[in-house]
């Protein structure tokens, strides 16, 4: 199954424009140097997977891309990250606009203490994506369907989002993120609490999104990375050890650390 998928992917993964480009990025949490000298170019209309052992800085780097790190007091970012050639840490850049363009699904599902409907409708509402209630309903339904959770919640859209099971919450958060139609979608382990079927549905969604957008996904599952991504970045102890075509990384890694990780020797 894995080989089959990647084969298909390879065909569609043609050379793309660079969407996100990072140069010499350093991130510190207080004294702790969490990301070191990361340079990377993330292409448009591509799925890029970040892999690496727990605590290596995947989430941290992901949060740099939409400046969510701004919200952590002790976190300090240096270096240069551009999206479509524009420096996102430029003083003129409004993080709000940036985040509308760069959506995010967090590692821990964090539904709002609101109804399921309102959880999803929240983004479209603040961005004015719907002209009326009917349009909004449509957007919400579409997003919930793409998040592979519509069938489970369609009868209780007014129930609180916090009363869902772990996996349901995670899918709700995915639906919430795609509802605003971001150009770049950052997903931090979006399938960690999902069963294989739901995982497959989310992966389908990712593949679908790739037609138009750029998707970055953090995952601990090599299989998943191999299935959905065209590019893979391997992080280790805050360093970007290797970055390249997914096939290449999984079949023929250059760095010994990458190889050890993939073959299950370092953690």
């Amino acid at each position: 199954m894995m080989n089959q998928m990647t084969a298909v992917d390879r065909k569609t993964s043609t050379m793309q424009d660079t969407k996100i480009s990072a140069r010499d990025v350093q991130v510190y949490y207080g004294e702790n140097h969490a990301i070191k000298d990361v340079d990377v170019d993330i292409a448009d209309k591509t799925v890029t997977a970040f892999i690496g052992p727990s605590g290596c800085g995947k989430s941290t780097f992901l949060r740099c891309i939409n400046r969510m790190n701004d919200t952590i007091d002790i976190c300090r970012v240096t270096g240069n990250i551009t999206i479509d050639g524009e420096d996102i840490y430029d003083a003129r850049v409004d993080p709000v606009q940036l985040r509308a363009k760069v959506g995010m699904v967090f590692q821990k599902p964090n539904p709002f203490p609101k109804s399921i409907y309102d959880n999803v409708a929240y983004g479209p509402k603040i961005h004015g994506l719907a002209r009326n209630k009917a349009e909004l309903d449509e957007i919400v339904e579409k997003a919930l369907r793409r998040g592979a959770i519509w069938d489970e919640v369609k009868d209780r859209l007014d129930a609180p989002g916090t009363g869902l099971s772990g996996g349901q919450q995670q899918r709700l958060c995915i639906a919430r993120a795609v509802a605003t139609e971001p150009e770049v979608l950052l997903m931090d382990e979006p399938c960690s609490a999902l069963d294989p079927i739901a995982t497959a549905q989310v992966e389908e969604l990712i593949d679908d999104l790739r037609q138009r957008y750029s998707v970055v996904i953090v995952t601990h599952s090599m299989q998943q990375a191999a299935r959905v991504s065209q590019k893979t970045a391997f992080f280790h102890l805050g360093n970007l050890v290797e970055f390249g075509d997914t096939d290449k990384i999984f079949t023929n890694p250059e760095d010994p650390r990458t190889e050890s990780y993939i073959s299950g020797r370092i953690g």
Binding site: T71, M104, F112, G123, A177
Partner: protein, 400 residues
């Protein structure tokens, strides 16, 4: 004097703590892992078993003696009984110590009893308040027709008797002044809380929050004089008279605004703590969707903190209803039913105080009306609180 047995019991209780602790370690052979409960919990259980029963007995005795209106009883016998009880409690609880004895459950039962006792204090207070006013209220209504009290729109007490003691203008003044005070304090307090918890840097927060809290501690007489000397004339000269609302320096508006200032910290400080306690992941979720900070606050943070915020606002409203000095000096003492916010009016509370501290015959309706006012206000605020609870419940159900 009850202090001697009190001290003895406290000493026994402290001694019990240490005895139980060492006894527990001893039965475990020095290895607390063999115990079902920690030595500390054995100690707590013994200390509480020693102190609480005699203390409860003492309270009962004290109240009982008063009810029987005897001032002495038999103190020595009673001292022996209480101390005996403490010794018995100590001995029994120490004897029960064994590796299997669940001292945690036992001690938690004592703590629970204390918690329940604490929460009954509120009930007892209410009962006390009602009873301390009921008798005189009945006296009042035996001298004054209740229909006139509840439905008359004139308030005009009189030394010669034959007074009009209608509560309506006072209630109206109370509602009007409280409304203006809250209309000022709630937005200002909420915005201050939001600014402090979401925008202000730690340094500003460290300074501004306690500074604003000082407002709650300034004696109300200062506010009253501020209303009388500064705010009242200012409002009269720049608002009331140019706009044709009258010439009064004392007004509902004056008192309301100044009271609003006093209430700011009630809303801001409590709300700030509650907003601060909303988990960061909620904010992250919203910011991650491209919401601005203010959208996040308005649509995610504040709704999540709502139950607590409502509590803070209710507290402020309560303070507004109970305030005297600011109203006396800011709004005047005249009872009046009017819509004009620049006219002098007064509140129920002010009249409770003034009739109670005045010179009218203390057995006359003019003085006794204070108790009827107090009880009526009590019932009305009770109804409002029931309503508030109902609304909060209804609103909250959407979330949890």
């Amino acid at each position: 004097m009850l202090s001697t047995p009190l001290i003895v019991i406290l000493c026994l209780s402290i001694a019990g703590w240490f005895i139980a602790k060492s006894r527990a370690l001893q039965v475990s052979g020095g290895d607390q892992r063999k115990l079902a409960s920690l030595p500390k919990q054995h100690a707590l259980n013994t200390a509480l078993s020693t102190a609480l029963p005699p203390l409860a007995l003492m309270i009962a005795w004290l109240v009982g003696m008063r009810v029987a209106s005897e001032s002495t009883g038999s103190p020595t016998l009673f001292h022996i009984v209480t101390i005996g009880l403490a010794v018995a409690g100590l001995a029994l609880s120490v004897l029960r110590i064994s590796p299997d004895f669940r001292a945690r459950t036992a001690s938690e039962r004592w703590v629970m009893a204390l918690l329940i006792f604490a929460s009954t204090v509120a009930i007892l207070t209410t009962v006390g308040i009602v009873f301390s006013m009921l008798f005189e209220t009945r006296n009042f209504f035996s001298q004054y027709d209740w229909r006139d009290f509840f439905f008359s729109s004139t308030w005009s007490p009189n030394f010669r008797g034959d007074s009009d003691l209608g509560i309506l203008p006072l209630l109206w003044g109370t509602l009007y002044i409280s409304f203006i005070a809250l209309a000022f304090a709630v937005p200002v307090g909420m915005f201050a809380a939001i600014y402090l918890s979401e925008y202000a840097g730690p340094r500003m927060r460290a300074v501004a929050k306690p500074a604003i809290e000082i407002l709650a501690g300034i004696p109300t007489i200062v506010y009253g004089l501020f209303a009388l000397i500064t705010v009242g004339p200012f409002l009269r000269d720049y608002f009331a008279s140019p706009m044709g609302f009258g010439q009064s320096a004392s007004s509902v508006m004056t008192a309301g605004l100044v009271m609003g200032i006093m209430l700011i910290p009630f809303v801001s400080s409590l709300s700030d703590d509650i907003i601060n306690a909303v988990p960061q992941s909620m904010r992250d979720g919203s910011l991650g969707l491209g919401a601005t900070k203010s959208e996040t606050i308005r649509q995610v943070v504040v709704p999540a903190a709502l139950p607590g915020i409502v509590g803070a606002i209710l507290l402020a409203a309560s303070r507004a209803i109970g305030e005297t000095m600011i109203v006396v000096l800011g709004a005047g003492a005249a009872a009046r039913l009017s819509l004009n916010p620049f006219e002098a009016m007064t509140t129920v509370t002010v009249k409770i105080v003034s009739q109670l501290t005045g010179d009218t015959d203390f057995a006359s309706p003019e003085t006794l009306v204070a108790f009827a006012l107090g009880l009526t206000l009590f019932v009305i605020t009770l109804a409002l609180n029931v309503l508030a609870l109902y609304i909060v419940r209804k609103y909250r159900e959407q979330y949890e």
